[in-house]
Amino acid sequence: MVKLAVIFFTMILVDNYVLAKFLGICPFLGVSKKLDSAVGMSLAVTFVMVLATAATWPIQTFLLTPVDAAGNQKWDMGYLQTIVFILIIAILVQLLENFLKKFIPALYKSLGVYLPLITTNCTILGVTILNLDNGYNFIESIVCAAGAGIGFLVAMVLFSGVRRRVEQAVTPKCFEGLPITLVAAAVTSLSFMGFGGIIDAIFNVAA
């Protein structure tokens, strides 16, 4: 249980995907202008992230690189990982879009516009691959994906606040728009570095 909590909170605060690992910068810069769209995008991302992890983990473990009872690899099709995962994510996003449109139109209305963008959001593919690289089991992977999603949400919400202030600042002409936003992101990311070590201290574990 402690291990799961450690993974979850590490993903949110210390290994935040956006601010520490540089995944999902495009939506981070693109949709963080308004608070409600930032929240909508992040919720959609979290949802797809967990679903994608739940779908890709068994595929990698049982289809691409299966291991028999004695621990020997039966066959290795790991080189297909990239192509299989991205197709699964694309299909998943499409299915989710159709499902929401049909059964939960209210949710579709609020998340709908962000769904097509998610296919090319590198956090999704990143989290599914990193989970396997880290050797997490199924439950740990799901928790990690959820943590990554919440971490994305936290970063987006915080940054949309920062951004509102930055937009009104007077800057040199060539810094207007994105450049100054990136400098602001640097400061936000700097503040997140302060969380380093907090998880170990709270849960009393060595990293």
């Binding site: 601010l19 999902g24 495009c26 990239t82 991205i86 090319t120 990143g126 060539c174 100054i180």
Partner: protein, 225 residues
Amino acid sequence: MSENNKMKILTNGILNENPVLRLVLGTCPTLAVTTMASNGIGMGLAATFVLLCSNIVISALRKIIPDQVRIPCYITVIAGFVSVVQMVVKAYVPDLDKALGVYLPLIVVNCIILGRAEMFASKNGILDSALDGIGMGIGFTVTLTIMGSIREILGSGTWMAGLGKLVPALGADFSIRVIPESIDTFSLMTSAPGGFFVFGILMAGATWLTTRPKKSAPAVEGGNA
């Protein structure tokens, strides 16, 4: 189409439509792998290869692929080439594979590649698309290298460390020491905030270069970077 125009397509990607600094595409790998200049070169070359091949194939198939399913088709083509790059890099430059880590498979979702497929290759002929791919690739590589150089020199005091792994002729320990070891390095530059910061400054520089009022003298490219 005239010679001049072809040249323009090729050079467009380097400054005027620089994919990273002007179009703001592919920001994730830009920020993530540029802790060292040599990683920037490696990433840039890998992406250039994928960009060139996918642009050619997508341009060749542009009349066959139905409009409604074009995005999945593009992604499949791109993912195929990324897998090729992944296998080649793993086999011949395993150190680069380790340094780039998850960002190598993530070239699939690099918006530069899908973006150029959608914006350029799906509307233009094969030769033009190939030129566009090369130009954009060079722009990407140059930007990554410049950013990597700034962060590496300020952050660890060396330049091009690890290049020996890309070019075996230089020897594995190749690196140029720019800041003497006795001076403490500004290690923040190699961590996350430094990435955002340098990126912001570079983008402002590119904006200044491309939008400043033209005087008589021809622009000096990349001079202030």
